[in-house]
């Protein structure tokens, strides 16, 4: 039953399946299995079935709206949905019902997609394990004792566990690519500005980007194409035409030059990950790609720069949760006490930590030493990518240094942060990247290959991922959930 969206819509076209039957099947699976996985925070059963019935009428009339009509998808609970509670994984927004749809949601509805529900996440997208949701942790469908990654762990686990055909998340430092790698699905962070952030609850506005999770690269192309493009409500969205990503997929990698960065193979990484990624590179070579070593020396300083910039922007963005206009309020004798108590009660430990860190880094006397310095390091990261892309078409690397870890294993904040060491540079430089499954560890856990490209070169990134996917059989392996 659980199969890629392009296969579902083929079956709708032939009349072998209907959007209603498929939506019912997914809702039944959620009902039976999500108690174990914890991928969802909210399931919108009646809305989903109503959308599926409308889609069914369109298919029956031979007039589907496009390749996502009748596709059952899940949305990270950081995307505002009109009339449906949107929590960002936080007690602060436990009862927040947005009065409008995010642009992504608006475009999905217009494309005929069937929204199944809202998925779990680390609170305000701060985390790499989905253990920091204020509601419950999400479990990895490949091994329920392990984390699905994060912060978009619910969206990744939903697709891996057959609880949605596709989904969307947000990626600020790896929050799509890392959980995609941990859960054995495809996950893509587009170029910064490619997808409108309007209606995305902000974490770090200069880094945040929305992107899809999918069972295969073809669906990734379709899910991205449906939401990409300029939006006047997001001043940072890019005014550039959206290519036919799916139409470009089969062009292959012959003649492309792929850069292999020395700095992405580090001491302490899982040898299974290194082996799988090096084998994947051999596969791409066999398909006609040229491999060239590249050097991105500032990679090792990216994590530190990121953990200045992200908390700084987050501390500013999260200042809006003050108990006045929406969200939680805890009473106090005066205005300041009300605000301070509200924020103390509404935010979890990791959010408080990053707000404190960001406020400190921006405070008088420290701004230049931390924020100014980190922004200059960000320039170096951008320049190094630009220099590399002057002579290679794409960069290939591991998505993460390790496979999915166990719940509770990374208690120390810094060791959790280290998980994003290979994904953060993509956010600092704004370039697009995808994680595509490239094998399994000896313990049976998925491994991700990361493909990074030039700004707005999503089509080529996806094309390489597709060529690799078609040459391998990893996607036929599925976790067993029952």
């Amino acid at each position: 039953m659980h199969r890629p969206i392009h296969e579902l819509t083929d079956a709708y076209r032939r009349g072998d399946l209907t959007p209603t039957a498929v939506a019912e099947e997914y809702l039944a699976r959620i009902g039976a299995l999500d108690g174990k996985v914890g991928a969802y925070l909210t399931v919108v059963r009646e809305q989903a079935l109503a959308a599926a019935r409308e889609s069914e009428l369109r298919w029956r009339a031979g007039k589907p709206r496009g390749p996502l009509d009748g596709a059952p998808v899940a949305l990270k609970d950081v995307l505002c949905t009109a009339g449906v509670r949107t929590t960002a994984g936080s007690k602060m927004l436990e009862r927040f019902v947005p009065p409008y749809d995010a642009t992504t949601v608006e475009r999905l509805r217009a494309a005929g997609a069937v929204i199944l529900g809202k998925t779990n996440m680390d609170e305000f997208a701060m985390g790499s394990s989905t253990e920091h949701s204020a509601f419950h942790p999400t479990r990895n469908p490949w091994d329920l004792a392990r984390v699905p990654g994060g912060s978009s762990g619910g969206s990744a686990a939903a697709v891996a566990g057959g609880l949605a055909a596709g989904s969307y998340g947000s990626d600020t430092g790896g929050s799509i690519r890392q959980p995609a790698a941990f859960c054995g699905v495809v996950g893509m962070k587009p170029t910064y500005g490619r997808v409108s952030r309007y209606g995305l609850i902000a974490l770090a506005s200069s880094l945040d980007q929305i992107g899809p999770f999918a069972q295969d690269v073809t669906d990734t192309a379709l899910l991205l194409g449906a939401v990409a493009g300029y939006d006047r409500r997001d001043a940072t969205s890019i005014q550039a035409p959206v290519p036919d990503y799916a139409g470009e997929l089969s062009k292959g990698v012959a003649g492309l030059t792929l850069g292999l960065p020395d700095e992405y193979f580090i001491d302490g990484m899982d040898p299974d990950v290194e082996r799988a990624v090096r084998q994947a590179i051999e596969v791409l070579k066999g398909l006609g790609a040229r491999i060239e070593r590249v050097s991105l020396p500032t990679t090792r300083h990216s994590l530190a720069a990121y953990y200045v910039i992200l908390p700084a922007e987050a501390s500013s963005n999260l200042a809006r949760y003050d108990g006045v206009r929406y969200g939680l309020r805890v009473a106090g004798r005066d205005f300041i006490e009300m605000q301070s108590r509200t924020r103390a009660a509404g935010f979890g430990a990791e959010v408080k930590r990053r707000i404190m860190l960001g406020t400190y880094a921006l405070s008088a006397g420290y701004y230049d030493a931390y924020y100014g310095k980190a922004q200059s390091v960000r320039t170096l990261v951008r320049r190094e990518f630009a220099a590399a892309f002057a002579h290679v078409d794409l960069i290939v690397a591991p998505t993460t240094p390790n496979v999915a870890f166990k719940h509770g294993e990374k208690e120390d904040p810094l060791s959790m942060y280290l998980n994003d060491v290979f994904t953060i540079p993509g956010n600092l430089s704004g370039i697009p990247g995808v994680s595509v499954p490239c094998g399994f560890s000896a313990t049976g856990l998925p491994i991700g290959l990361q493909v990074l490209g030039r700004p707005l070169d999503e089509a080529r990134v996806l094309r390489a991922a597709y060529a690799y996917e078609q040459a391998t059989t990893w996607r036929s392996r599925r976790p067993e959930l029952s």
Partner: protein, 95 residues
């Protein structure tokens, strides 16, 4: 190194009523994270322009014309303490 007073000061700035235990834990954790962030000092960045956005952004202007916006009641629907067409807050200025 930041001490307890620094942590209390930052908590006040950012309006977080932290408990004694939280303040102490925050001091330890922030020091450990800051020790890592201080490795940035070793990166030579003299004359390197800071990047605030990964893509070049320019101010986006539009004509100053009234456009449809959200109805007031739907905006006030999420307010913890709405009053008529206002957000009500506790006293700010002493009598």
């Amino acid at each position: 190194m930041i001490d307890r007073k620094d942590v209390e000061h930052v908590a006040r700035l950012t309006r977080l009523a932290l408990t004694e235990a939280e303040l102490e834990r925050m001091r330890e954790q922030l020091n450990s994270i800051l020790a890592h962030l201080d490795t940035l000092r070793a990166v030579p960045t003299e004359g390197i322009e800071p990047t605030s956005h990964a893509v070049d952004v320019v101010n986006v202007m539009r004509d100053d014309e009234v456009e449809p916006c959200l109805p007031q009641d739907s905006v006030l629907a999420n307010a913890p303490d709405p009053s008529g067409e206002f957000f009500r807050v506790p006293r700010i200025i002493e009598e």
